[in-house]
């Protein structure tokens, strides 16, 4: 008998609409799955079991009466704890917001609710989305379902692990320098970063506002298309959201990539990437060639400056965004023993932020400070423009750019926590897309030493349909995305009720 938790969103949606299964049963199957495996995975910070079942009953009613039924009606999903949810604690992985209960829903959360989706709860992340391993969470690390001694990637590690382990059918994360694509690669899930402005950031707790973008995790390109279609679109509440029509992403999945021009950037195939990762990407290129795509050598000459520009721009924006955490309006406030307001502020921020967040606030403050602004911030913004021009030139000759998502497979917990620069290198291939504002997706491309390897497909601004079509075409002739970690077989013990904390 097949378990309900291992269905795709597309399959489950069809069975829900034919009324062969109920959303309540589907939701309960996921709550049971969370109870069975989350002790191992530690993806969830908050499980909203009762609210989820209530959502499910409402969805079943809509399905019964064929009332406002969408591709997500009755589908249980998880949300990265950086997305504000009305009445449900939202921590951003930080001690600072341990008891913060938002008064409103973010736009993506509202859109999912309107589509009839079920929210299972909030999932773990690096504090304020700063990190590549989810080890910077104030609530402890999430484990990679493929090997629980390894990291799931980050910063959206909880979102990735929950989907990889069958604890949610899909999830939302946020991607500032690779925080959806890199954990997607490390957990064998499809992680999509939409074009900057494609998805409203209203209600996304800000890290670096010119780079942040919300994106879905799923176990197939088709499911990614369904989820993106539900969250994309103009929002007057986000002045950077784009007033550009949202195409039917599912309709775009024709399976046909004949004549599609795929660029292979030579700067992304350099020393330092694991041979097992390079082989998977080369095999994927061969698959596309066989499917009739045209493979082109291209150059993105300013790639080598990407990481440096990012580690000025992102911390600079973060230092400004995180100035709001002053312990006055909400969040942690340390007042005991403080002489005055400033003293209280200094100690609140010392206690509230973890080491990586403090490091980035310091770096950003330094880069913006008098005397250093021209050398660092101004120059980084100019380099950013050069990187964008690289992509514009490349997309004049090709439709899609292919590369590794991450230079390595999932690394061991604790392996890089003492070396910030080694951790930053995990995002070498994902950062340029954020700097240029283009879209990208990491897809399950194969395995190296038993661990998943992601293949990154980058597309021009607002060309999500093109990269999803390429992703789907690859899935039609490969089975990597259908493989599951063995986690379930070793630890699953069926329980009737979720034992996690209820909200």
């Amino acid at each position: 008998m097949s378990a309900l938790w291992n269905l795709s969103i597309a399959e489950a949606g069809e069975r829900l609409r034919r009324r062969e299964i109920t959303s309540v049963a589907l939701t309960q199957a996921h709550l049971d799955r969370i109870a069975a495996v989350d002790e191992q995975v530690k993806a969830f910070l908050t499980v909203t079991a009762e609210a989820a079942l209530e959502d499910a009953r409402a969805a079943d009613k809509r399905l019964d009466h064929d009332d406002r039924v969408t591709g997500l009606t009755g589908i249980p999903l998880a949300l990265k704890d950086v997305l504000v949810t009305k009445g449900v604690r939202t921590t951003a992985g930080s001690r600072f917001l341990e008891h913060f209960v938002p008064p409103y829903d973010g736009t993506v959360v509202r859109r999912l609710r309107e589509a009839g989706a079920v929210t299972l709860g909030k999932v773990n992340m690096d504090e304020f989305a700063m990190g590549s391993s989810t080890e910077n969470s104030a609530y402890g690390p999430t484990r990679n379902p493929w090997d629980t001694t390894r990291v799931p990637g980050g910063s959206s590690g909880g979102s990735a692990a929950a989907v990889a382990a069958g604890e949610a059918m899909g999830s939302l994360g946020s991607d500032t320098g690779g925080s959806v694509r890199q954990p997607g690669a490390l957990t064998n899930t499809v992680g999509l970063k939409p074009t900057y402005g494609r998805v409203s950031r209203f209600g996304l707790i800000a890290f670096a506002s010119s780079l942040d973008q919300i994106g879905p995790f799923t176990r197939s390109a088709r499911d990614s298309a369904i989820l993106l279609g539900a969250i994309a679109g103009y929002d007057p509440a986000d002045s950077t959201s784009a007033n550009v029509p949202v195409p039917d992403y599912v309709q775009a999945l024709t399976g046909d990539v004949r004549g599609l021009k795929i660029g292979v950037p030579r700067e992304y195939f350099v020393e330092g990437t694991e041979p097992g990762v390079v082989k998977v990407v080369q095999d994927a290129i061969a698959v596309y060639r066989e499917l009739g795509a045209e493979i082109l050598d291209i150059s993105l000459p300013h790639t080598r400056y990407g990481l440096a520009a990012y580690y000025i721009i992102a911390p600079a924006e973060a230092s400004a965004n995180l100035a709001r955490y002053d312990g006055i309006k909400y969040g942690l406030s340390v007042r005991e023993g403080a002489d005055d307001l400033i003293d209280s502020l200094m100690h609140t921020r010392e206690m509230g932020f973890g080491p990586e967040v403090r490091r980035r606030i310091m770096l950003g403050t330094y880069a913006l400070s008098s005397g250093y602004y021209d050398a660092y911030y101004k120059r980084a913004e100019q380099v950013r423009m050069l990187i964008r021009q690289d992509f514009d030139a490349a997309f004049a000759t090709c439709d899609v750019i292919i590369s590794p998502t991450s230079p390595t497979v999932a690394f061991k917990l604790g392996e890089r926590t003492d070396d910030p620069v080694a951790m930053y290198l995990a995002d070498l291939f994902t950062i340029p897309a954020n700097l240029a504002g283009i879209c990208g997706v990491s897809i399950p491309g194969g395995f190296s030493e038993g661990l998943p390897v992601g293949v990154q497909l980058l597309g021009q601004r607002f060309e999500e349909a093109t990269i999803l079509r390429a992703a789907d075409a690859f899935e039609r002739v490969t089975d990597y995305h259908t493989r599951w970690p063995t986690l379930a077989d070793t630890v699953a013990k069926p329980k009737r009720k979720s034992t996690k904390k209820l909200v």
Binding site: S210, I312, I328, L341, I342, R358, R359, M362, T365
Partner: protein
């Protein structure tokens, strides 16, 4: 480019973040390491690039000046660490 303990102390004050003596030392070492990697930026030829504040086509987005529904003060103050009626209470700024 390396950062001294005194530089770190100055930045920490700008960032309104207290650091212990140990943290000042560690931060000086780590920030220096990061800046070493960032130094590559100085090699880029940026002479052809004008400084741009945004990559977006739109800027200065305004909405119509029409009243919208708002949240109640109680809802917005529900997360306040300390309040008195509809005010936030803080440590005295002036003696």
């Amino acid at each position: 480019m390396s950062i001294s303990r005194e530089d770190v102390q100055h930045i920490a004050l700008l960032a309104r973040m207290h650091l212990t003596e140990d943290e000042l030392q560690v931060m000086a070492r780590q920030l220096s390491g990061i800046l070493e990697h960032i130094a590559v930026l100085q090699e880029a030829d940026v002479s052809s690039v004008a400084l741009t504040a945004t990559l977006l086509p739109q800027s200065g987005v305004m909405r119509a000046d029409v009243p919208q529904p708002s949240y109640t003060p109680d809802l917005l103050l529900a997360n306040a660490p300390d309040r008195e009626d509809q005010y936030l209470r803080v440590k005295a700024v002036l003696d």
